[in-house]
């Protein structure tokens, strides 16, 4: 370290400065009997390393979601990276971890990073099923009778979106049905082989109104991993790389009721920043992978990303085929709603699927226009 230095060059940008060159995914299932979180993570890691055409000795960076601490995972895998950290950003951990890996590579700390996360329900209880530790939630929310997981907050948001914009449950049911269509071509999806219609979504029971069972994620086991490296190294490998062209993050309030407005998400700012770095506009985006713990969250983020005018997500879904065969594919692997949510690997899978499509590895659900994807964690 020195106490003074000269900054050289202009504004720092990560545009095109890292590429995803390998992906791995342990299928998402309700339970993987006899497996642990660390074991599933290690399996996904090996799949991604192999897919990249690398050896584990080539990995010199490791980023996890923190629920699997990097020191333990590195030891389990038998690697000793020069950079390791856990990104504890709840659902956004996957996208954020990919951003952190990109930054670490460009900071010169390491050049080939394994990003991996996974879940085994035997190791980690399903979220929000019991009383929480003393917290904002236990003092101000639980005495009023909450629904499981994050359902309460998203129910409040959903109602408010209906109130402000006239969004209907039928319109968002179409989103869940489109995503299920995509999952039918994804053997890794927990609901593969189980088609549903918009009516099935509408007829599923309320967990908390307006959220119905088929509009919310199911906790699962599984794991996902990717290898990200420098553009120079990417050129020496056999996979078609998926370049990172822009990244953006905006931290909003953790508790939904703390927000000024329930119907606006931090995606307004995070996507603006990512697009600005990339040099593209929302109109250029060919397909999208959007975090979908509930229909309403993906719906609002798609609006806030500028892909659809604010408040018009309902009519958009009525009019648009968003399956992998459609005019604007969204959540081409089924998303978390139809793919299942293996902990924080659920959100991470959006990054994996975006890369998979760009790399041309999506098989029967490959989208034809696969040059530019927007991923929202």
């Amino acid at each position: 370290m020195v106490n003074s230095f000269q900054v050289k060059g202009g504004k720092m940008s990560l545009r095109g400065r890292a590429a995803i060159v390998g992906i791995g995914e342990v299928p998402t299932r309700r339970i993987h009997e006899g497996r642990t979180m660390i074991g599933l993570c290690a399996e996904a890691a090996h799949m991604a390393i192999k897919d990249a055409g690398l050896r584990k000795e080539d990995i010199n960076g490791l980023v996890t979601d923190g629920t699997t601490p990097p020191p333990g995972l590195a030891e389990y895998l038998g690697i000793q990276p020069n950079f390791a950290t856990g990104v504890t950003m709840q659902g956004a951990s996957g996208a954020t971890a990919t951003m952190v890996a990109t930054a670490a590579i460009n900071g010169g700390i390491c050049n080939t990073v394994l990003v991996v996360m996974g879940n085994a329900r035997s190791d980690r209880p399903d979220p929000g099923k019991g009383p929480s530790a003393p917290s904002v939630r236990s003092e101000w929310e639980e005495p009023y009778g909450m629904a499981p997981g994050a359902n309460t907050g998203y129910g409040l948001i959903y109602k408010r979106h209906m109130h402000e914009y006239g969004t209907t449950e039928e319109q968002l049911a179409k989103m869940a049905a489109d995503q299920r269509f995509n999952a039918l071509e994804n053997e890794n999806a927990v609901f593969n082989g189980q088609p549903i219609s918009k009516e099935d979504v509408l007829n599923s029971r309320y967990i908390n109104e307006p959220i119905k069972l088929l509009e919310s994620v199911m906790p699962c086991d599984g794991a996902a991993a990717l290898i990200i490296t420098t553009p120079e190294r990417a050129k020496t490998l056999t996979n078609k790389p998926a370049y990172v062209l822009g990244v953006g993050l905006k931290q909003g309030e953790a508790n939904i009721w703390q927000r000024e407005r329930f119907t606006e998400t931090p995606a307004v700012e995070s996507v603006r920043r990512a697009l600005e770095m990339s040099g593209y506009s929302p109109n250029d985006i060919e397909f999208a992978e959007f975090y979908d713990c509930y229909t309403i969250l993906a719906a609002m983020c798609i609006e806030d990303a500028g892909l659809v005018k604010k408040g018009e997500i309902g009519p958009f879904y009525e009019a648009t085929d968003t399956t992998y065969k459609g005019e604007f594919p969204i959540n081409t692997d089924g998303g978390q709603l139809s793919g299942g949510q293996p902990g924080l690997a659920g959100g991470f899978r959006h990054v994996i699927e975006g890369a998979r499509q760009i790399m041309g590895k999506a098989g029967p659900r490959q989208v034809p226009k696969n040059d530019l994807c927007l991923v929202n964690g």
């Binding site: 236990s138 005495p143 009778g145 959903y158 408010r160």
Partner: protein
Amino acid sequence: MTSAYDKPLPIPSNETLTKPFWEATKRKELLIPRCNTCSKLFFYPRELCIKCGSKDLGWQKSSGLGKIYSYTRVRQAVHPSFQSENGHAYTIVQLSEGVKLPANIVGISPDDVKIDMDVIATFEDVTPEVTLVQFKPL
């Protein structure tokens, strides 16, 4: 009360900090944290002002008046004591002072709860030690 209250009671993360709030509810008063340095009102109580970071904080008595900002009717509750066929309206009320807080709407069916409905605070002595803030239609 004819039977013991079996719903979750508030569990403070900082008992010292929120003791005045819970003592006030027993007097049927709703207090909002207020910064003595910059006058910012906020909710939930924090050890430092959300706006300026000052530790010089006090409390302002709320009018108790507010509007329903949003609600969700909970059909599947985490705590079994809240499980009922008809569900209950978990509600966020925005007070006339601007801050929002969770509550239930009492005195009406969950069918009749609506966004923008005018409500006023009411106080529910759920145990000899704890009084919860609830809201009812104005």
